[in-house]
Symmetry: C2
Subunit: 182 residues, 2 copies
């Protein structure tokens, strides 16, 4: 209840309050999330959410980190404690070599665009990543460098407990990001 600007619905947490307050930008931001996180081509939806949650963790954005971690958990049919695994990034033992290599790229993007190395791209290719996988990883990571700054830069509030994100994560995973713009 402490955002830097007065929102129409200050009771709504994180980006949800911002999307509601400004449907002009809100609709476009949701369309981008829908394409990047729920595409049926290339990377599985659960891995897309994993990348989003990991980048949000690096950006210290509790709302996005936890909600997208809950969405990744929902896709995997796991409890939200899976977020502990996501926080490990490329060190996780629960992921494929391909996702591991893509998380390295995502972590470089989180630092700055020109931190992405040719070596990291090569390793991702060796692990089976194609051009679309690399493209989507870079753009998902870049997009969360935006969403995270939007959410925290305007000082929105967020529930502390992971359990509070369970239903939101399920909706993000299975009903999608355009559910409030229909």
């Amino acid at each position: 209840m402490s955002s830097y600007i007065t929102l129409n619905r200050p009771d709504l947490p994180g980006i949800v309050g911002l999307l509601n307050h400004r449907p002009d930008t809100g609709k476009v931001l949701c369309e981008l999330a829908e394409i990047l996180l729920r595409s049926d081509h290339g990377l599985p939806r659960g891995e897309r959410e994993w990348i989003a949650s990991y980048v949000s963790y690096l950006n210290q954005c509790h709302f996005c980190h936890t909600s997208h971690g809950a969405a990744a958990s929902a896709h995997a049919g796991k409890e939200v404690t899976m977020i502990d695994e996501i926080e490990k990034g490329p060190e996780s033992k629960a992921i494929s070599d391909k996702l591991r290599a893509l998380l390295v790229i995502a972590g470089q993007v989180q630092k700055l665009g020109n931190c992405v190395t040719e070596e990291a791209i090569e390793k991702a290719r060796e692990a089976g990543a194609g051009d679309d996988d690399i493209h989507d990883t870079v753009l998902i990571a870049a997009a969360f460098c935006m969403y995270n700054r939007y959410v925290d830069g305007l000082h929105t509030w967020a529930p502390a407990e992971r359990e509070a994100y369970k239903e939101e994560g399920r909706q993000m995973a299975f009903e999608g990001y355009m559910r409030n713009f229909k």
Copy 2:
């Protein structure tokens, strides 16, 4: 001609090649730029481009820094040498106190969302900024933390010389960001 993925049109520089290669995300990214940089409400278009160019400078993204600097120059009816002024950020003597205060916020957003201070928000309000100005500043700065990472993370090429961005900047300013999606 050296991007990390093979683009349909490797001759197109910076984000232009990426938008062309992936019109699915490209259209949405352009819609967002159109709303944030060419709105007729609140902040003038030239100041929106100024914020975008300054954040891109901080993110070391030559393509976005120079092209949006050229767009800001076009709005102001100035030569692209105005980019020297934009690089000064809040230290510029050519800007209003309000834009100066908003550039401080934009610089904080560029670091990380939770770097934005209550003090900076208060100073912007004292200089005449309202909720919409603060919202748009935060979201423009956040969005360029995405665009910049997308452009550089995939290692697109960019013309070195400022003069090469003059016509592109004019089109961005006066024909808008949806001009290739009509």
